[in-house]
Symmetry: C2
Subunit: 711 residues, 2 copies
Amino acid sequence: MDNPDKLFNRVTYIGKDNAEIQADDYDLQTPVGEERRGGRLGDMRYVIIRPENPPLRRVGSGMLEATEAAEIPEGRLSKAAYWTKRALIGVPLASAKAEHERLSKFKALPLLSSDAISSVAFATEAILINLAAAGPAHLGLTLPISLVIILLLCIVTISYRQTIPAYPNGGGSYTVARENLGKLPGLVAAAALLIDYVLNVAVCISAGVLNMVSLFPELHGSIVLLDIALVVLVTLLNLRGVRESGSIFAFPTYFFVINAALLIGVGLFKAYVIHHQPFIGTFAPMKDTVFEPLTVLLVLRAFATGCSAMTGVEAISNGVPIFKKPETRNAATTLTIMAVILGTLFLGITLLAMTYGIEAHPSGNPTVVAQIALKVYSNSGPFIVLFPIFQLAVLGILALSAETSYADFPRLASLLAHDGFLPRQFSFRGDRLAFSVGIIALAIMSCILLIVFEGSTDALINLFAVGVFIAFTLSQAGMVMHWWRLRGTANNWRRSIMINGLGAGTTAIVAMIIATMKFMEGAWIVILLIPLLVLMFLGIEHHYHVFESERTTDVPAQPQQIKHRVIIPIDRLDRVTIQSLSYARSITRHVTAVHVVVNEESALKIRQDWMKWQQYIGEDEETHLLLIESPYRSLFRPLLAYIDTIRKRHPDETLSVILPEFVVAHWWEYFLHNQTVLRLKAKLLFRPGIVVINLPQHIRGKQPALRPLPW
Amino acid sequence: MDNPDKLFNRVTYIGKDNAEIQADDYDLQTPVGEERRGGRLGDMRYVIIRPENPPLRRVGSGMLEATEAAEIPEGRLSKAAYWTKRALIGVPLASAKAEHERLSKFKALPLLSSDAISSVAFATEAILINLAAAGPAHLGLTLPISLVIILLLCIVTISYRQTIPAYPNGGGSYTVARENLGKLPGLVAAAALLIDYVLNVAVCISAGVLNMVSLFPELHGSIVLLDIALVVLVTLLNLRGVRESGSIFAFPTYFFVINAALLIGVGLFKAYVIHHQPFIGTFAPMKDTVFEPLTVLLVLRAFATGCSAMTGVEAISNGVPIFKKPETRNAATTLTIMAVILGTLFLGITLLAMTYGIEAHPSGNPTVVAQIALKVYSNSGPFIVLFPIFQLAVLGILALSAETSYADFPRLASLLAHDGFLPRQFSFRGDRLAFSVGIIALAIMSCILLIVFEGSTDALINLFAVGVFIAFTLSQAGMVMHWWRLRGTANNWRRSIMINGLGAGTTAIVAMIIATMKFMEGAWIVILLIPLLVLMFLGIEHHYHVFESERTTDVPAQPQQIKHRVIIPIDRLDRVTIQSLSYARSITRHVTAVHVVVNEESALKIRQDWMKWQQYIGEDEETHLLLIESPYRSLFRPLLAYIDTIRKRHPDETLSVILPEFVVAHWWEYFLHNQTVLRLKAKLLFRPGIVVINLPQHIRGKQPALRPLPW
């Protein structure tokens, strides 16, 4: 990654033995030579004329800088496209501004942890649903399970707190695993995360929309449409750049946090202070229904599902560079705050569920949190208004938790691209310093998911946690190696290893539990997808390697070594052909003009013109006219055959073929010219020896017609 | 049109003051320089090694000839395509063979008059149907109407007999009208004919298929499919070349002629010799049906429809060049024969219809000829077999009469193309010396018609005759002018004028009658289409004119005048870039390498490498490295801005831009490279000043990787 604030140290121009060079065309200091006669006789001076809004500014000898004017395309259509883009995502931001784009803790928190925090809205429910299978008697187990998960959260958080200072440029699982465990583990982590990010967007968007639809049922027909509209909206907001999206997304997160906190506070207060509720976690027994016995398996499954609460925890350690400086400290603090919020809310909601004996509806409607809110705020007079407000807050955070993916996916993709595992384009920052390609790729893939699953992505929730925990494990393990390397040098490296080791161990176990528990429900898809993605990464890396190392063209590296030979196919000898010939001659005297004879008259004409031209140009041993008779009337093949023969015959020479490039005003006009030239060009492309020189030929607009030949 | 038998007079090569030049690479006489030590010490000799099947043969100094080997493409796919083509349309024919492709009268007759003759099958019916409206009482009028049409036929034939010797290279209406009346009338005639040819193909094919279907009703579902299949078949046959199609199509025509003659003979014999039938042209009166009164209008409409019998009469005068020499006499004779056959058969069928009191079924099924045949051959013992045979003959001639269009349309199109009113491609002869493009165009257009009208093209029959008669009129009028010009010089020019004048007059009247009578039925389409086509012709002509006269490229015509300047965009300084640079330097010392800075590291690297390279290459005042900072991270726009600025600044220089041309193994690999180069190329195309030099760069296959930089 280029470091923006160092990017614009001037790279000064190096000329002949490092001397500054006098103003010259390669930098644009030369005045546009408009001559003005000065006051005294014979005295001249230059007047420098500059366009008022130049596309290039001189910023040092041999250094230009493109101004914003350079960005604006010519051509009506492309101009229109440009301005629409501006309207949608705002004016381009200079790389130098990258610094201003960084975020305060306050703004980074919602951006990077909305995903994690949003899980409060369904984690408890997930556990309850699983336990319900064993009947209400055991629903109480929800609390201990939640406690385990929270413990897990603490461990993961603490170990990530160690990762952040170690990797100030974003210690995502990919980076950590790659640097410490090697390429393959790194790529596995990357694959796992990318998959998860896409899933997350799809799930969150659809969850949000489903909530909306449950409020306005008439929208039910157009769910997929709403999904995609929402994706497009979020995408545009993100294309506007990190900073703006940060501000936009801040509100809903905090709004939810406050509402949830309020709910918990009020709820517990009512239960324990007002009603002195004596007991907790006991549920109304159901009659005459058989339940499967409470097995370890069942508990584990409940636990596995609950772990979905931890998706998105690693987002912060991944996004360190978007924090204001000092990045690492800010990031670490934010991580802690996030963990605390998540833990408290999760615990609180679970407690309330236990206290009020809430059971999860298999239909998932009303949701557990909704039931809680209703119970808490019901018969509390005016406070009842807090119920719909809370519902809105839930809707907001759900729809928004997609944002975490948008913040992280492009960043991760850009890292991969930078290391050559994804197409380069992923590492370019767009107009607004956001990684546009990554953002758009994410949007497209989640749209596909949404369309395929027709907006109901419950199935996908099961695919979720696996990837996250694989990533966790790998990065923690990576950190262990990291500390091991630094043993001795880093103080209290032992403690660090302990912590990360613990993290790695636990997350590994959890990952395995989830994988096994959820395998049939769809985890297998992820298990299958990861290696495929890794293969793709490797394939791309291979291509780039081969491309970098074995790219070649058969031209000597020393100008002096080049033996030129130029071939010009000509259909007649008109002004343009003669210009081409003279271009050829200005490269080398060794020129052969080739005419394929399909009709005698024109051949004779060319011969006469050629003689005239030779006299005009001064005759020359090495410039020849070659006529090739084509008994089968094909122009293309004989030419190609000749070029190939010459090339085989003179491997030592650099063969250039000059071809005209017709530029016509209307697309249909292309049909009026036979396509020999284009076909020839296409063929020559695949012959590494041959340089193709295009002379663009234009219909000159309002000019006098048919200038005569020079003689 | 190039005259094939003169085409291969050797065009001898003109070198320095007409001296024969010593063997040189431009002709392939130089031995492949394989050095062999001879017997005696220090004595060397060359051994000339030739490929056993060379694509090019030397046929004179400075003259090569492409052999058939040159025609065979490389590349698996294109090879496959090539051989399939061979299988379908046969081996390519050398232009020299054109002579052998010409046709005897016997073969030309069916090829050029099947259209005209086939109309015997429906002309009578067309008249009857129209008269039927006035009730059976007036059906007798069919005979006089037919006689008028036959008279018309005679007039037209005679006047065309005068056209043929006057225009031995094919005196189609287009040529005649153009040469004598001017461009516009010529184009109108051409448009009218082209339309008619397409209509003819569609109508004939569908008529044939409908007949077939009436024999095998189970095919009814797939009429359109059969149509297209038939079109494809006929097209392939025609692509095989004039000669072969001639032979293939001879049989059905003669078969029909014989059968029809037989039918007429037998029928008349039965009626008048055996049964001594006393009366003719009286029909069983129908009861209690009201008929519209017999009006002049009605008669005229009947006449107009009947004139469809004359479509295709001008085919022969159009196709003179495909006759064996002496073309003109053969063509004239053939024309007469054709007219006689057509006249007799038409008259005979009408007579029979009258004799046997045949009425046309509104449904058109069974057809009039079918009814006649049935009546004639019924209760005649074994002779009844002649009935189905006759039906087959009809089917054959109908399906085949499309052939006339196939023979004439491409020829006419090639004339138009040659005069620059249609794309050049129409004037090229294909592998088999047929005008492939025209043939294929005709096939496509009639297929479209067939698909649009779902194979039932009754409606189109009404559009038919108009075009033909417009063409007739124009060509005859043209001939009048022709003779008027030759007055005095040509003997009995007065008679000629008389004849052609008569022809012109009558056909003009008929044309008007048809146009008015059939206007609502669809003639208006033709009347509308003709001017549109003419406009297209003029548009194309204009384009070619502008293209020929105002095509330009901003390169001086004198090599000495060219002031080179080369710009090379570079992303880094690797082996390939250095090769590009050295190519640039071999053209001129005035080279600027431009690097757009988006990331400092690479900029610094390039700077260092540049210094190394300068030392390596020998430092140079005029070769510069220019760094352009791109604060908005775009590579493409700043480059373009720089190139434009330089160009504005130095209109006197010839600016060349060297761009790499990546060639990758798999299509998907293109996504791995950002498209800046391609976009740049596309943009530069539209700047006439700028020459684009492509250095193709390849992934070298099984070669050792990463050769080091030269230093």
